[in-house]
Symmetry: C2
Subunit: 309 residues, 2 copies
């Protein structure tokens, strides 16, 4: 097998890439998730682009790997994904098979990213790690003893929806207190807004972007810094709990927000170690993904056909 | 191998049993943990009892399996166990090898109980489950894909020390907010005391035992019922988080407190399902251990020599 089409379906963007065994993305296509009313519309467009690529390059794609939120490896369906609007149960594997007529595998997007990190990123030598995808939502891909943790139904790693009762925010999943309501794009923006309103007793007219908040923090802006402090504190409670449950070797930060790792990692290291039992203290590495500027989910989705994961 | 000595070291009691491959404990010895100033004193006594057994029965013990809190499978040491007072690092495997001159394996007591449940209890057909030991402390043994989850350092499953920030109690480990401070013997007693004081604006003179509180609850006593409700609510937040991280098939209740499962399980089922993402709702079994009146840790510690775990 020489080339696999890896597709990363996110709440905001969809990226499809033609991947080789070395983890090079030799061609990449991008789509806006909200432009597609159904998953089938999306797959149709990806299929067309893939066919054009094959015609122009004279290369052949041999399989399709898909990473998507709440994708079930065993059933081939996307089930109850809070950040997608294509219904409660999307038979994405069946749809992709119909168009491409090739072997198709689907996996939770965070698992895909973890597989990408394992074969092409900073986890090549690590058998036990958790990759956190911090972006529109908060997900995790968990490696245990050198194998991805799928769980009974292929749905393991829903770290973003683990709850801390002191969080009072309502999540996109309908629950209250999910860590994702704080440690995600949405969570950071909301925290910024709340802090601004509180401090100036005034409503924020022009909401800065995540990138701007990060730049403000890098420049020493107090509100921005306190936003990252608060977000990382909540995230760290969850990470410390993960470490004590899994006895993992490394936590890898991935996703849009992880680009702020220069500010986040020192806070997380401090907050996590404060909470750990002595046996775990200062043993767990908190690392930025090595694939932050690549697409780890595309790579990992494709890697399912190249390697034992 | 016909007979293995399984030893379960708890914060209150130590039980040693001569176990056969079918999971029968053909002879059992019991010790009070606090009677022993060092682990070596304890092992000396167990060794003497084992030798007497061998002499009287004409049977031979071929190996020694030990389950203990914070026991590290890889190093053979008990490390920083908050409920034992034998120092930060107890080379229990080395000590046992010295006396018995037999193969010795040690494992976290909750892992031992999970292994016991897997081979001799209600988890024979289950590949993904979490066994919770609710007693003096709160521990967990996690099975993933038919294998016990040891983690990088053999310390996985420290569920009792995962933290929920709305809990304000100080734990025996020194941290604040560990689930163990609520869901354990100590936690139940403290909750009862607090509720009594609050309700009657008076201090409790005669503290009932756990068993008495359970009997009171069975008889419909409001304080006792609200104690179990509150304890199970906190425990359920942790269980729901475990399910969303691990996508596990069953939660098995074990340990002294699990004898109250008739009252606890309906509350836990309700509270856990309230918090789960739709994909997980009503799929996970909450079960009482099938080994509640046997000693699962003794059986599991011995089973390490009989089976691949």
């Amino acid at each position: 097998m020489n080339y696999v089409l890896g597709i990363d379906i996110g709440g905001t963007n969809v990226v499809a890439g033609i991947v080789n065994k070395e983890g090079d993305i030799i061609q990449q296509f991008q789509y806006k998730t909200n432009n597609y009313i159904t998953a089938e519309n999306l797959i149709t467009d990806i299929y067309k682009d893939c066919k054009l690529f094959e015609r122009d390059s004279n290369l052949k794609v041999s399989a399709v790997g898909i990473g998507a939120p709440n994708a079930n490896y065993f059933t081939g369906e996307i089930e109850f994904a809070p950040n997608l609007n294509w219904g409660n149960s999307v038979p994405i594997s069946k749809i992709a098979t119909k168009y491409f007529n090739l072997p198709v595998k689907i996996i939770n997007d965070a698992n895909a990213a973890a597989i990408g990190e394992k074969f092409f990123g900073c986890a090549k030598e690590i058998s036990n790690f958790v990759l956190l995808t911090i972006g529109t939502g908060l997900g995790s891909g968990i490696y245990v003893n050198g194998k991805i943790l799928l769980g009974k139904n292929g749905m393991a790693g829903e770290f973003g929806h683990t709850q801390l009762p002191h969080i009072k925010r309502v999540c996109s999943c309908g629950q209250i207190g999910c860590i994702e309501t704080v440690a995600s794009k949405r969570g950071i923006l909301q925290t910024y807004k709340e802090k601004y309103n509180e401090l100036f007793n005034d409503f924020l007219d022009n909401m800065p972007s995540i990138e701007q908040i990060y730049q403000l923090a890098l420049n020493g802006n107090n509100i921005a810094l306190s936003v990252f402090q608060e977000v990382c504190e909540v995230l760290s409670i969850g990470i410390a709990n993960l470490i004590m449950i899994l006895d993992t070797e490394a936590i890898i930060l991935f996703g849009g927000i992880a680009n702020a790792h220069k500010i986040m990692i020192p806070i997380i290291e401090n907050e996590v170690n404060k909470r750990l039992l002595p046996v775990f203290k200062n043993k767990v590495k908190i690392l930025p993904s090595m694939l932050l500027n690549k697409n780890a989910s595309v790579l990992g989705s494709a890697a399912m056909f190249f390697y034992e994961f």
